[in-house]
Amino acid sequence: MPKSTAPMTLRESLAFLDWVYNPFQSRDVIRVYDLLSTRTPSARGLWLNLGYWRDANTLDDACEAMAALLAERAGMGPADRVLDVGFGFADQDIYWTKHYQPQSIVGLNITASQVAAARTRVADLGLADRIDLREGSATAMPIPDASVDIVTALECAFHFNTREAFFAEALRVLRPGGRLVVADILPMPVEQCWVGRQQQRLSWWAVAAKFPIPEANRYTRAEYGPRLAAQGFTDTQVESIRADVYAPLHRHLAADPSVTQRLHPLARPPLQLALMVSAETIYRGLDYVLASARKPG
């Protein structure tokens, strides 16, 4: 397990502190994930997603349930060639290979440190012939036309510059009839009441500032399907699963101190502070959608 237990260097700690406390800086995606490195709060594996909590009681179970949700929606099976963009540490790719046995999984990720760590994990598990991970961009894929059956993006498409450029590339590399499945973070539709609106803006801003989200990706779930269709996708389905993501995660973190203990000490106080506020307030501006679409043919 390449999970990092080494203490952070002073330089890393200062950068981490700056990331957590300074709202006026913005980092690019690569620098944020390089900084977070392998310090994820999950107990087994290095899961980076927020989890799907409908039937889960632990963070790891919830993360696996999110991966399973995408695979089920895609109808993943032994005949499928899967392309997974923004794979993090490839936990979902390892999970899918074990539980759905797709023919192959190719992963693209622009964060070099994640690619290197994930490749080592996959090789250690003896899955290097099934899962092929490399440095590449979701908006300029090094993948031939019509060469994959399923494209997945688990909680990362909001980073892509832009999400629609990713939709266009996904359509290109999918074979006719191939499926795109995305778990994605969006702003909520704007509320009528003034207080609600302010809380929404703060909530969205807190996330967009910490994890760089291009302004072009800031639209609500009502626009998601039409934007997929505009790129040429059909059978678009977009549903909000936010009720099974944010509030139960928040309740879990508040109830289980061992999760925050696994974070770097510098990251604990802001999380503990946030946990004293209700989930409804903190996540008021955030939507979480499961979206799927099919390439015609």
């Binding site: 690619v115 092929d132 991970l133 440095e135 590449g136 961009s137 894929m141 090094p142 031939p144």
Partner: protein, 71 residues
């Protein structure tokens, strides 16, 4: 060590055209894009901003001797 099957499923992210594997230099060459993508620790880095631009002579060299360079 980069196997041939892997090379078959890679294209240049800019031109979407084929790549030539230059084993000696540890690079993947896109002749049409005049770009050389590095292979670092066996990981092909398929990002335009990480690629080296080929000179006209280099590109011509690969164009002529292209298939012979395949590793």
């Amino acid at each position: 060590m980069l196997d041939k099957n892997l090379l078959e499923i890679l294209v240049c992210p800019v031109t979407k055209g084929p790549l030539i594997y230059d084993k000696a230099r540890a690079e993947l060459i896109s002749v049409a894009g005049r770009l050389a993508y590095p292979i670092r620790d066996d990981i092909p880095v398929m990002l335009e901003e990480e690629a080296r631009t080929l000179s006209a002579e280099e590109a011509e060299g690969y164009r002529k001797g292209g298939s012979a360079q395949l590793g």
